[in-house]
């Protein structure tokens, strides 16, 4: 590591962001099971340290692309909880006017060029954003979050090639959360994912994705590498998806595809209490600070939900008018 890790302020901000992601998603989970959401939701619970640790190193001018499991990335990059919640509710006041929904939350003004329902698609889009960043020439980077499952899509190798060839300022963040939908990673993924990146001239690192400080530190290096014109960087973050692939799965699958014991084991490594313990131990936060964060976040989530509930459901007519910048559905 060539940096000294996050400052106390940074750690506190990361922690707050992780709690926000967790609580927003717990709310979405409850809302889903209460039948309040129009579509399905893929929750990020358990992986918060990755989004928060990485995005703490980014500015609004840096871009991120994300996955079907994109709430965490959206919130970590500074997306507004209210308009995200409204989007998932399918409301006109949603960040995408209710047109995208959970799988497609995006806020261009924050550099969030979009979650994506197509596994692997974000990689090429990010390479394009990194190309743009290189041409802009002002040191911005483009970061792609993608899963271990997505790592089996050929577009990974293609983007490793083109970004290293052109020294594009792209940062690859592979979130190895153990599953490719309902398939345990080992049953679909051969070899080590980081080795795929090591076949190319780039900065590569593997990190504990449930350790926010470690993620921040690795990301700081990777992003600095990319920012300074040295080309792409790759981080494989080992983590675990605590909830199902999507919340609907309990109603759909006829048998489980993983052990409860495994889930419990990973709950024991939960990045949020872990970071809280670290902060207390390091004397940079007290129990009451932690309680404050929780309370503030609860209020923020309440507010987001109220905003969403109050929004008008997106209705007829809007879609065709949104297809073309220059008007008309063609």
């Amino acid at each position: 590591m060539s940096n000294n890790g996050p400052s106390p302020d940074e750690i506190r901000a990361i922690y707050a962001r992780m709690v926000l992601i967790r609580k927003m998603e717990e709310r979405l989970s409850a809302d889903f099971h209460a039948g309040k959401l129009p579509g399905g939701v893929h929750l990020y619970i358990g992986q918060e340290a990755v989004a928060a640790g990485v995005c703490a190193n980014l500015t609004d001018a840096d871009k991120i692309a994300s996955t079907h499991r994109g709430h965490g990335h959206f919130l970590a990059k500074g997306g507004d909880p209210k308009s995200m919640m409204a989007e998932v509710y399918g409301r006109e006041n949603g960040i995408c006017k209710g047109m995208g929904g959970s799988m497609h939350v995006a806020d261009i003004s924050k550099g969030i060029i979009g979650a994506n329902g197509i596994v692997g698609a974000g990689l090429a889009i990010t390479a394009g954003a990194a190309f743009a960043a290189q041409l802009d020439g002002d040191g911005h980077v483009a970061v792609c979050f993608f899963g271990d499952g997505a790592s089996n899509q050929g577009v990974l190798m293609e983007t490793l090639n083109v970004t290293s060839l052109w020294k594009l300022p792209m940062v690859f963040i592979c979130e190895h959360n153990g599953f490719s939908e309902f398939s345990p990673s080992a049953t679909v993924t051969s070899g080590e994912i980081a080795d795929r990146a090591r076949a190319f001239p780039m900065h590569v690192n593997v990190v504990d994705g449930n350790d926010a400080v470690a993620v921040w530190t690795a990301a700081a290096d990777a992003i600095a590498h990319a920012r300074s014109g040295n080309g792409p960087a790759f981080i494989e973050a080992k983590t675990y998806r605590i909830h199902g692939h999507f919340e609907m799965e309990k109603h759909m699958l006829s048998r489980p595809y993983r052990d409860e014991a495994e889930i419990e084991e990973w709950r024991g490594r939960d990045s949020i209490p872990r970071l809280a313990a670290h902060m207390i131990e390091a004397g940079i936060a007290s129990d009451s600070d932690i309680a404050d964060v929780n309370a503030r976040t609860d209020a923020e989530v309440e507010e987001a939900a109220a905003f969403a509930e109050a929004g008008t459901p997106a209705g007829p007519g809007l879609a065709p008018s949104l297809m073309f910048a220059e008007g008309g559905a063609g």
Binding site: G39, M99, M103, G117, R255, Y257, P313, M323
Partner: protein, 322 residues
Amino acid sequence: MAKQRLTNAVNDGLAEEMRRDPKIILFGEDVEVSMTGDTIGLLDEFGPDRIRNTPICEATLTGMAVGAAASGYRVILHMMMANFIYTGFDAIANQMSKLRLMTGGQITLPITVMCGYGGGRALAAQHSDTPYSLLMNLGGLNVAVPCNAGDAKGLLKTAIRSDDPAFFMVPGGRGGEIGEVPEGDYEIPFGAASVRAEGNAATIVTVGAMVRHSLEAAEALAEAGTQVDVIDCRTLVPLDEDAIIKSVAKTGRLVVVDEARDRCGAASYIAALVADKGFAHLKAPVRRVTVANTAMPYAPAAEADLLPNPETIAAAVRDVIA
């Protein structure tokens, strides 16, 4: 006749065919756990040689289907949802649909590609497409689109037994719907439409999920004294042109109902066919009830507004008989 969910009928069809023919193999993403239930239990019965749960790599999956079929296997490729065929589109468009011609007929490709298609479930733009017209334009691919459990099983069997590549596309929202399924082994031939309702006032031609809406429209019209033919194409390639022309010869009026986007959709092809071969019979404009040339929005009301429904279908019929 037994009552079954469509997805269970498909599951039975797969198992029965795999029992019949040891050369059948099936692979795709998460076919082991089986989200919709269509492949459930197959791994247990047929083992990991014949049922393979794959990585996410559609470009390779479609290509592998071609390679395994060209090497003597009868391949069932499970692509989950129709939007994912785009990711594996090269081997569909440049290989599967062309290799037989390119090799002068040397290669035989008994491939069935399965997927769910269509909207109506707030899955948003990337999980709601109805891309059969793209496949229809490629040539070299059969396309079956069942509307109910019984047809699903029979068409699936025909697809699997065929020596040509076929897409078997199930309406995404209909997997849970219960319908009659004949006992025993049966095939439903390709290119044989089913006349689901009869009448002299107009012809509705449709397919897949839109059959039910069309039948509801027909019922509503019947209550007002208008009887219409409702023709379910069942397969879009080959298409039962005769059934369509015959009906239009009787009614003189045609409404085509299609869940796909309008431009260059199946509806426009069917309308064009009739405007050519059935022109002499036509007494009114040929109407298409389709989806605007728009990606599918997430919000349910926005989505519903785009999809054909019994009211919009009935309105189109009233229009052409006015």
